[in-house]
Amino acid sequence: MCGIRRHGLSIALLLASSAGATSVPSLTFEELTDHSELIVSGQINRSWTGWDSEHKFIWTHYELSVSGVQKGAPGATVELSEPGGAVGIQGMAIAGAVAYQPGDHVLVFLQRMPNGYLRTAGWSQGKYTVDNMGRLHSETSLRGLEVLSAQKGAAVAAPLRSLDGMTLAELRARIAARLQQQREAK
């Protein structure tokens, strides 16, 4: 064996060797709200896939029929887009990409991308399913451990997990408070 000895390393061993998703930062409620151009609730009507304008990436597009507006000024419908999907016999899979189904009742935080698309903010962090009782449920658990650095005595930003289980009305009030806070800051 060209092995190791407690007090020595064989030269053979030496010569042989010498020869020789998606990672998504967690967002706070304030960050999510501030970064979103639109915050709307409604129902997904339909979906379709297509190449982007450079014919480089495949995106899946969704038409959302807007029933409630928490931030921004959308029309009656909003087109939102998520990376990935299949066109013909070519597909693109992106771990962590958000998907919707026609018929889904959702509340979404939407961010404008450089290519002009409106996309769910913070990946799945910006998507909430609305149940029959009007409560919000995160697609992924956002009640997870906080991913932040806290300094002793420093204020800790409101964690996003607190939205899970909230009603639409409660969320609307919270967003309004945040927007008011922003206006006053200016």
């Binding site: 060209c2 092995g3 000895r5 007090h7 390393l9 064989s10 030269i11 053979a12 061993l13 030496l14 042989a16 060797s17 010498s18 020869a19 020789g20 998703a21 998606t22 990672s23 998504v24 930062p25 896939t49 304008s53 990436f57 990376p83 990935g84 999907g85 299949a86 013909g88 016999i89 070519q90 597909g91 693109m92 899979a93 992106i94 771990a95 962590g96 998907a99 189904q101 018929g103 961010q111 991308m113 290519n115 698309y117 990946w123 399913t129 149940d131 449920h137 697609e139 992924t140 658990s141 956002l142 997870g144 451990l145 906080e146 932040l148 806290a150 002793k152 005595g153 800790v156 899970d164």
Partner: protein, 718 residues
């Protein structure tokens, strides 16, 4: 000199229980995607990714790659970490360099920063993402839009779900480093995660796993191994595995879809996660052994990205349940199935997500609270600190159950610490006794308070103990001598060995098991040796050293040329995130040393025919012998640390003399770095006449410094 690729790989337990990427998009059939070039996967690193790189589109004031980082080495190490899984049929080829950027349709797997609107839109707010281009549509659909690369006729077209390109887009909005710079993200752990996606792994539910959505590890956990072991078994079958299967139901018998499952074998250090199907059933494979298992709700502590329709989400919302342990223990035999059905306890938990930190016992949390999984150095006692709703004085030891290898809760140690607070919550401290381990593993814990539970699956990343060494233990790998006064010493560019403190083999993998040392692979496509090997990094004044071997008792490395001109250097050993205290080691300009322990291989060659010099093959007088060693320091021709030496220029003059068999001192024909090798030196010497036969002593001396090689080196003459 002939290069031999000699790779000794870490033995890693096999497992199963994973979540795969699929073709699941709107209304389509859910087919897993998979690599078909899994045995030889080429990856290219964009050549703009260098220390100090700053994207023109980032708008940031700081570089995207910190100037003290080595991104090529980070990428190389990430590839090597996946390649070290010997129980799966996957292999990434040596990293190659490219000037090409991201193109998901060019059949070239590329790592690059996003630079166009299209790419920046894809990556969104993520640190990075992987685009896996696959064949959609029915089976055997023929080529995508382009035929396979290099194929002109009779092409073998991929089948549905086959990945034919993977590109990793790094987000220029963030700063990456390989040195742990504050405010940066660790490039190696991010790439390790993204490469998992390129193999078609999706995100897992175990907080400390590399494939968790917020990766922090430079190593793979048993859960990550579960994926590759199951999806890419070696020809002829992989490791012998058993199966755990069953159904998770709610009270009344309704199935629980998308429940997270954690199975653990604490004696073997295996923790594997999984998730139930929409009908509440599950099945996953694990190494044989005794297991415990529990189910927890998807919307508990653990974040995982599983697509749910409104109906499914509503179902999940209305089937809140507590973390529920399987009531028995499971004995899993190879190639057989053990059944574990769990009826979960209904109801939402009132325990809210706490903040988590690990500190020294009674240590301050001011800089320790990071949230997410926490790293726990083994071989010591630490405080686990929790803060959140329900975490107060009503909890005691009996409310906590820890499930991990060598992790125990110290009796009577659960206590409230009101001296600090996080988020308005007081701190709840628990002291954990963590036995020393030579390999990293995950541990989980469940908190039970009345009828409420909260589980932290894979939240504790148990890593080997903090490395310890001394300045006396840093010695030449050829002579095993320090500076002659009992202290260690190094010279620039030389190959050196760092020993552990006897009895504490904590420098790298394997503890004191000599069969578990890990050697480096060949030079990468950039011509550099890796500076991270099996989780070990060694720095000299912050400069990472190329590593030849990692082991609990011994590290072999090249001392960076950057220490030249210094009187001392500070050496730090980092193993899986645990850093040693710095040790100060003297720096010598040169420290010539000859290898004497060859175990049948070369210490010297007879240059007449290139054969190995030995008692049976001595050199004749009037011929040349070539002796190998190290420690010649900075010469008149230079080259970067970690790269093989170039050939000397024609005008190069050696400064060495030598004596052989008591002969008068004579000038060496050549003395310098061995071409194509990093850290290896050679002396080409004429065998004088009339020095006898057999083994004769050789000493080489640098005439500038007066430093000589150690006594005892010999060469065979006839």
């Amino acid at each position: 000199m002939r290069r031999v690729a000699w790779v000794l790989l870490l033995l890693t337990p096999a497992g199963f229980g994973y979540i795969r990427e699929t073709t699941n998009f709107v209304g389509s059939t859910n087919v897993p995607v998979v690599r078909v070039d899994n045995a030889a996967i080429p990856f290219f690193l964009n050549n703009q990714i260098v220390p100090g790189f700053q994207s023109s589109v980032s708008g940031a004031a700081t570089p995207n790659i910190t100037s003290d980082s080595n991104p090529q080495q980070a990428a190389h190490a990430a590839l090597a970490t996946w390649n070290a899984v010997t129980t799966a049929n996957i292999h990434f080829l040596p990293l190659q360099s490219t000037s090409s950027g991201i193109d998901p349709n060019d059949y070239q797997a590329t790592i690059a920063f996003g630079s166009t609107a299209a790419e920046l839109s894809m990556v969104g707010g993520a640190l990075a993402l992987t685009v896996d281009s696959y064949v959609s549509g029915p089976a055997n659909p023929g080529a995508p839009e382009n035929p396979p690369v290099g194929c002109v006729s009779n092409c073998t077209y991929p089948a549905q779900g086959d990945i034919y390109d993977s590109d990793i887009i790094l987000n220029p909005a963030y700063t990456f480093s390989t040195t742990g710079t504050a405010g940066s993200h660790d490039l190696q752990s991010v790439l390790l995660h993204e490469l998992g996606h390129s193999l078609s792994a999706n995100h897992t539910g175990l907080l400390g796993a590399s494939m968790y959505q917020f990766p922090t590890n430079r190593f793979l956990t048993t859960d990550d191994l579960a994926f590759v072991n199951s999806v890419y078994p070696p020809a002829g079958g992989g490791a012998a595995l058993g199966t755990i299967s069953g159904t998770i139901t709610a009270t009344g018998g309704a199935p629980v879809p998308y429940a997270l499952l954690t199975a653990f074998n604490t004696s073997a250090g295996v923790t594997v996660g999984g998730v139930t199907n929409p009908d509440g059933t599950y099945s996953f494979q694990v190494p044989p052994g005794s297991y415990q298992m529990y189910a927890e709700p998807l919307n508990g502590v653990v974040a995982i990205n599983i697509y749910l329709t409104s109906t499914q989400a509503s179902l999940a919302a209305t089937t809140k349940f507590q973390t529920t342990l399987y009531s028995g223990s499971l004995t899993v035999a190879a190639n057989s199935t053990a059944t574990a059905n769990i009826t979960v306890t209904s109801g939402a938990s009132s325990l809210a997500t706490p903040y988590v930190a690990v500190t020294p016992v009674n240590g301050s949390v001011s800089s320790a609270v990071t949230g997410g999984p926490v790293t726990v150095p083994s071989g010591q006692s630490v405080d686990l600190v929790l803060a959140g709703t329900g975490f107060g004085s009503t909890l005691g030891n009996s409310n906590f159950n820890f499930h991990g290898q060598g992790v125990t809760l110290q009796a009577g140690s659960v206590r409230v610490d009101s001296s600090e607070a996080i988020g308005g919550f007081p701190l709840l401290r628990l002291t954990l006794n963590v036995a020393a381990t030579a390999t990293p593993s995950l541990a989980s814990f469940i908190v039970t308070s009345g009828s409420n539970t909260l589980s932290f699956s894979g939240a504790l990343v148990i890593v080997p103990p903090t490395p310890t060494t001394t300045s006396q233990s840093v010695v030449s790998s050829a002579s095993f001598l320090g500076n002659g006064s009992g202290n260690g010493a190094v010279s620039p560019g030389g190959i050196y060995t760092i020993y552990d403190i006897p009895g504490t083999p904590n420098l790298g993998p394997g503890g004191s098991n000599a069969s578990q040392y890990v050697q480096n692979g060949p030079y990468d496509a950039y011509g550099y040796l890796a500076t991270t090997l099996a989780g070990v990094t060694v720095t000299f004044d912050g400069v990472p050293a190329p590593l030849f071997l990692s082991w609990g008792q011994q590290l072999n490395l090249q001392v960076p040329f950057e220490v030249a001109g210094k009187k001392t250097t500070q050496v730090v050993v980092n193993y899986l995130g645990s850093a040693s205290a710095p040790v100060t080691v003297p720096v010598l300009a040169v420290q010539p040393a000859l290898y004497t322990s060859c175990s049948g291989a070369v210490c010297a060659r007879n240059l007449a025919d290139g054969t190995i010099n030995s008692a049976q093959n001595p050199a004749a007088a009037g011929t040349y012998v070539e002796l190998y060693g190290t420690g010649v320091g900075v010469l008149s021709y230079t080259f970067p640390t970690g790269q093989g030496a170039p050939g000397p220029p024609a005008a190069y003059q050696s400064t060495y003399t030598y004596t052989m068999g008591g002969s008068p001192s004579a000038a060496a024909y050549f003395a310098g770095w061995t071409p194509t090798e990093a850290g290896l030196a050679q002396w080409d010497l004429l065998v004088p006449a009339n020095i006898g036969t057999g083994a004769v002593s050789v000493v080489v001396t640098d005439t500038v410094s007066g430093a000589s090689s150690q006594p005892g080196a010999k060469v065979f003459v006839k």
